[in-house]
Symmetry: C2
Subunit: 388 residues, 2 copies
């Protein structure tokens, strides 16, 4: 009956707040009108707060992967050596994109579910002094690991290489101060912590990165950041922007500014801790250890039950959608997204429903025990974020 | 941050499904246009399924109380004797309205929280053979009691009196087959089980009731049902209808028809049983006994904690709104609404949040215990309604 009441607990797309939906429903305006230019320029300017940067933030119509390619296309040329840190599906995607641009890729890896050690990056940089770019994933969505970007940035900052960070499933949910950490390029998408539908990617670049971008001779047109910079200076875009999504973005930025990043980060941390406490209390295997766990997505393994059956029951009984595993983790893990338009009470809901789904899938768990652990975390921590 | 994410667990207004919100956002049309007349006539016709009647169902712009007055104004004249069954705030409202029309009111009462015994009504009818109308409340929203309308109808049906039923917080959630039970007038509102914003009331009348309505000489204009009947025959209304709410109502009826009343009634019963099992498991006092409990609202007393503090924590921490007590029950009980656009997973959410609020209010409860009881009810009963 209530087919629209889908409760999205996947790591993107995430639910869209109603005030954002309404903003997106406003009538079209011409994208070259003065009215839209003023909105666009102001919105791009407001994004600097989310990126914690003084650099321009560019907005493109495209998916998160378009954002990753945008970073590659502007910094990598045929035959360039690059270092890609990868311990999951989205790290691997950087490798694929770099290779498609003819790069010579050196990979720094860790097992899926673990974090990349910045010292590995230091070693790779020492062994490959000609590497021009280091690519790293902040939140590896496929595993639920939050990689140590600050530590990696410290190593890259000692060299002439630039650091490109995939922050698609982290920016606006986890601390990632671009300027303070010396990140050269940060990329994100609209459909994760930024609470919008998919369709926009965002990129900011440091002066060090711009030095490389300006010299880069790789063929590119839609993805040529130089065109976006030139047009942003004129309050517009080189190609047609996604007007509705810009309307929605302006509304999202009001929500973010009103709450403030510290409060938003604390809320995500609280949802993460509630989720992990519940999973531990239920005796289920967490796929990541506490020290590398992401505040936006939690991966859970199986101690015997079929994770796909659990997902099926959550969907059929409650219209709750959680994600499965990707690549070789398909059928091995499931992933609960807790980012964007979600609060602790949403975690109580998904966890209480999950317990029922687990019982229906034959898991040996005690009903209510996970919820209780999450409630206890909330009661211990709630003074931090209460209702944000 | 997410001030719009109010989780309404009061017994009305209830949440509005997004497809209904969108339907209501359609542009205005003239209410005398052929387009609107066709929609209005069809929508009124479709309401017969919800009322389980072959009689016309009238739609007025007005609150639930307007619907109650509509019934009184068309059946009660100065000096008429009427019997009002009352064991709560909304039963009392019938008395007040009847007295404002100059009626001689005989009350049949029960303590708040208990049900009216149909035999009491039989006695009152025997003692007052000149009573023209019996007024009864199906779900008494102030206490959470579902009164035995079928039993009362059996008694009234033996006499010349007609039975008027306030079904504002029950129609579309609890079984109330107007024709099969021989109910003469059934009144409801838009903002309860019908999942619309407030603003519409609905009334259907039996031939026996129409006999009285036609002879009634009480002064009335906006509330004159004869005008509505005449205009409905011409596919329209005597006065301007609430165009947006009619748009929304048409969408609501699609949702109801798709699910079917039996499934909807079962879902409400399931939510009721989950809620009551949780409250019992937590050791809190239920204000009503199982045999008279409503499937749309559950009233809960206190065993020491301050119910207003519990409500405050639910609101401040989770933006969950539950109702307080009315009249002398203010501060004595709180009420959880579980009707309309709500499903079992919403009960898991409100109950898990309630446990936290209770702990914060100093109640001596065991976290997770209520949720577990609700989960167990769900698992036992879920084959009935699963995801409706």
């Amino acid at each position: 009956m209530f087919k629209e009441q889908t409760i999205l607990r996947i790591p993107g797309p995430t639910p869209v707040p109603p005030q954002v939906e309404r903003a997106m429903a406003r009538p079209m305006v011409g994208h070259r009108s003065g009215e839209f230019s003023a909105l666009f320029a102001k919105t791009a300017e407001r994004l600097k707060y989310v990126f914690q940067t003084e650099q321009d933030v560019f907005i493109l119509a495209g998916s998160g992967t378009a954002g990753l390619e945008l970073a590659v296309a502007n910094t990598v040329q045929q035959g360039d050596k690059v270092i890609v840190c990868t311990a999951g599906n989205f790290g691997d995607r950087f490798t694929k994109i770099c290779k498609s641009y003819g790069a010579n890729v050196v990979e720094v890896t860790a097992p899926w579910g673990e974090g990349i050690d910045p010292l590995q990056v230091a070693v790779a940089l020492a062994e490959n002094p000609d590497a021009k770019v280091v690519f790293a994933t902040h939140c590896e969505t496929s595993t639920g690991v939050l990689h140590d970007i600050q530590g990696i940035a410290e190593q890259v900052g000692k060299t002439d290489a630039i650091l490109v960070v995939d922050a698609v499933s982290s920016l606006g949910a986890a601390e990632l101060p671009m300027d303070a950490w010396g990140l050269d390029i940060v990329v994100t998408g609209s459909q994760k912590a930024l609470m919008l539908p998919p369709g926009l990617c965002f990129l900011a670049a440091s002066p060090k990165a711009w030095n490389l971008i300006e010299k880069n001779e790789a063929p590119r047109f839609y993805f040529d950041l130089r065109a976006y910079r030139k047009q942003l200076a004129a309050n517009t875009t080189p190609y047609t922007p996604s007007v509705s999504l810009i309307y929605g973005l302006a509304e999202v930025l009001s929500l973010i500014e009103e709450a403030g990043l510290p409060s938003i980060f604390a809320r995500h941390k609280q949802m993460q801790e509630m989720t992990r406490a519940a999973i531990k209390a239920l005796g289920l295997p967490l796929f990541t250890s506490d020290d590398v766990a992401s505040p936006t997505v939690t991966s859970i393994g199986s101690n015997g039950y079929d994770v796909e059956v659990v997902r099926k029951h959550l969907k059929n009984d409650f219209n709750i959608i959680v994600a499965g595993g990707q690549a070789h983790l398909k059928g091995q893990i499931f992933r609960i997204g807790h980012m964007g338009y979600a609060t602790p009470v949403d975690m109580l809901q998904v966890l209480s429903a999950l317990e029922i789904a687990l019982v229906k899938a034959g898991a040996n768990i005690e009903l209510g025990r996970g919820v209780r652990a999450a409630q206890e975390v909330y009661l211990q921590k709630q003074e931090v974020t209460a209702h944000v």
